[in-house]
């Protein structure tokens, strides 16, 4: 808590919405995965089941406040995505505690969960259901989704006929159809053409005004600097710095040039 308010004099965001307390996450290394019963039985008998742990996150403590746009930066494999997963209930932390005071709307990786043979319309409802919405919730925003994604003419065609840009637009439109309390974006705003990107950014601004907390991962540092209130830099599963976007990005660039 003190960490957030000590950054600046004014305290625009003081109500915690996501809290990570000494969070660590370990994966088993893929080479240690045992694929067959035989292998399992033999190793079990020989007491050779050694679990080599890989710590994707170590001892992360962080607080994100209500209404903030918070960015995560770091090299590939630094633990950014793992952190999003721990926050969105996908992974349970190996150690430590995660507390979230709000409903999370995750943004699916574009097209994940889309079925190529189904029409755009059918996929909107399927995707919405995957995100946890009900039928009536999806019906109330359907027209707006079609309009936002600019797919009026194609909404009844199977999505296998869509271009990757159309795919991306529809995916974004579904995931952001409702004003969420917490929105999680994993490297997504960098798709689509420039006009659509402007539209996305505009929608994000609206969310911000409506009080949505946004948590985003991206390698587009300039964009993050323009959008975020605070940024955390993660490296090898540890936080290297949190605070003013400009400062953190400078430090990150200094290390990686």
């Amino acid at each position: 808590m003190s960490e957030a308010s000590s950054e600046t004099n004014q305290i625009p965001f003081s109500q915690p919405i996501i809290q990570l307390e000494n969070v660590s996450v370990s994966y088993r290394l893929p080479s240690e995965r045992i694929g067959t019963f035989k292998e399992y039985a033999i190793r079990k008998l020989q007491r050779k089941i050694k679990i080599t742990k890989f710590w994707a996150l170590t001892d992360i403590s962080l607080q994100i406040n209500r209404g903030e746009v918070f960015g995560l930066i770091g090299n590939n494999g630094a633990g950014k995505s793992t952190m999003l997963k721990v926050i969105s209930k996908v992974l349970k932390p190996t150690k430590g505690r995660v507390v979230v005071y709000g409903k999370i709307a995750p943004l699916l990786e574009l097209g994940a969960g889309f079925h190529p043979e189904l029409s755009g319309r059918e996929n909107v409802f399927l995707n919405g259901a995957l995100l946890g919405y009900s039928r009536s919730e999806m019906e109330s925003v359907f027209d707006e989704i079609v309009e936002f994604s600019e797919l009026e003419q194609f909404i009844n065609a199977p999505v296998r006929t869509y271009s990757s840009g159309m795919f991306a637009r529809l995916g974004f439109a579904v995931a952001t159809a409702h004003v969420p309390e917490i929105l999680i974006l994993d490297e997504i705003l960098s798709v689509g053409d420039e006009a659509f990107q402007r539209k996305c950014n505009h929608r994000m601004k609206n969310f911000q005004q409506a009080g949505t907390t946004v948590l985003m991962v991206s390698h587009a540092l300039d964009m993050l600097e323009g959008m975020c209130n605070r940024i955390a830099w993660i490296d090898h599963g540890k936080i290297q710095g949190v605070g003013e976007p400009q400062e953190v990005i400078e430090a990150y660039r200094g290390e990686n040039l």
């Binding site: 003081s14 109500q15 915690p16 919405i17 994966y27 088993r28 045992i34 694929g35 067959t36 019963f37 399992y40 209500r66 997963k85 721990v86 969105s88 209930k89 996908v90 992974l91 349970k92 932390p93 430590g96 505690r97 995660v98 507390v99 979230v100 005071y101 709000g102 409903k103 999370i104 995750p106 699916l108 990786e109 994940a112 969960g113 079925h115 043979e117 189904l118 059918e122 409802f125 399927l126 259901a129 995957l130 995100l131 946890g132 919405y133 009900s134 039928r135 994993d186």
Partner: protein, 275 residues
């Protein structure tokens, strides 16, 4: 500041249990319906005859088996085509449902790694899809009965109970085997071999009367023996099952459902790490 007293998610108190997963499934019932819908719509999307294949498929298999085996078994079974088809429907439901549960969880795994979804939704929707197919394939069964001149007994009103027992057993087994397949990928392959053996150990294409009396106790260990029996008795013998026939089926159905559900949910927190 103090307004947000109650967290929506707290990893310290979050634990997936058999009960909590049931509640989550209730919340995601719309997704359940959407997944069943998707599977039924997309399976035959590009074929001309579409969903009709659900009915034509067992019909075709029945015709082949009748043609091949009728000389062997015809004298032993009256209305052999009806006998085969009724057994096949039960077996197809079981094998398709459990296989779909395995592939559903593996497919769903790519989503489970990205967003939160109750993982049981894939297995339950797989069995739901199989159930829709089973109900649809009752149509060709009725047609074959009419063509073959078999009688329709009042006891057939018992069939919904038979289907319910079969569904419970299949769901429990599907959840169990799909959970195993997440941890041991070889299970999915082994299961195909097991299914073939299992089918021949169940009286589906051959009449029960051909089983020697001394082997009967072994046949009766097989839960699918009881499931097929529940389905066939009302159609063939025109009677309700006796208690000593009904109770084993009930015990298998309830027991397997409980075991499968409890085992599946006890592993749920690990799936996102493993699939």
């Amino acid at each position: 500041m103090a307004s947000n007293s109650k967290p929506v998610y707290d990893s310290a108190s979050y634990r997936v249990s058999a009960i909590s997963e049931l509640k989550e499934l209730g919340k995601y019932r719309y997704l359940l319906g959407q997944l069943i819908r998707r599977d039924i719509l997309t399976r035959y999307k590009r074929s001309v005859l579409g969903v009709a294949w659900t009915m034509l498929n067992p019909l075709g298999t029945m015709l082949i088996l009748t043609f091949v085996f009728s000389n062997f078994f015809k004298s032993a079974v009256l209305h052999y085509p009806v006998y085969i088809l009724s057994g096949l429907l039960v077996w197809n439901f079981f094998s398709q449902g459990t296989n779909a549960a395995i592939s559903g969880l593996v497919w769903g795994g790519s989503l489970l790694k990205r967003i939160y979804i109750p993982s049981s939704v894939f297995g339950v929707s797989a069995i739901g899809t199989a159930l829709v197919n089973l109900v649809l394939s009752l149509v060709p069964l009725v047609i074959v009965m009419l063509v073959d001149g078999a009688s329709f007994y009042v006891s057939m009103v018992f069939l919904p109970v038979s289907i319910l027992l079969l569904t419970a057993f299949t769901l429990g087994f599907g959840l169990f085997i799909s959970s195993l397949a997440v941890f041991f990928p070889d299970v999915a392959e082994m299961y195909q071999v097991l299914l073939t053996a299992w089918m021949y150990l169940t009286p589906i294409i051959y009449p029960e009367s051909l089983i020697a009396a001394k082997w009967m106790p072994f046949y009766q260990i097989n839960p699918m023996y009881w499931m097929v029996k529940m389905f066939r008795l009302p159609i063939f013998e025109g009677r309700l099952p006796y208690w000593h026939e009904f109770l084993p089926a009930l015990a298998w159905a309830v027991g397997m459902l409980l075991i499968g559900w409890i085992y599946f949910t006890s592993k749920t927190e690990e799936y996102a790490y493993r699939v």
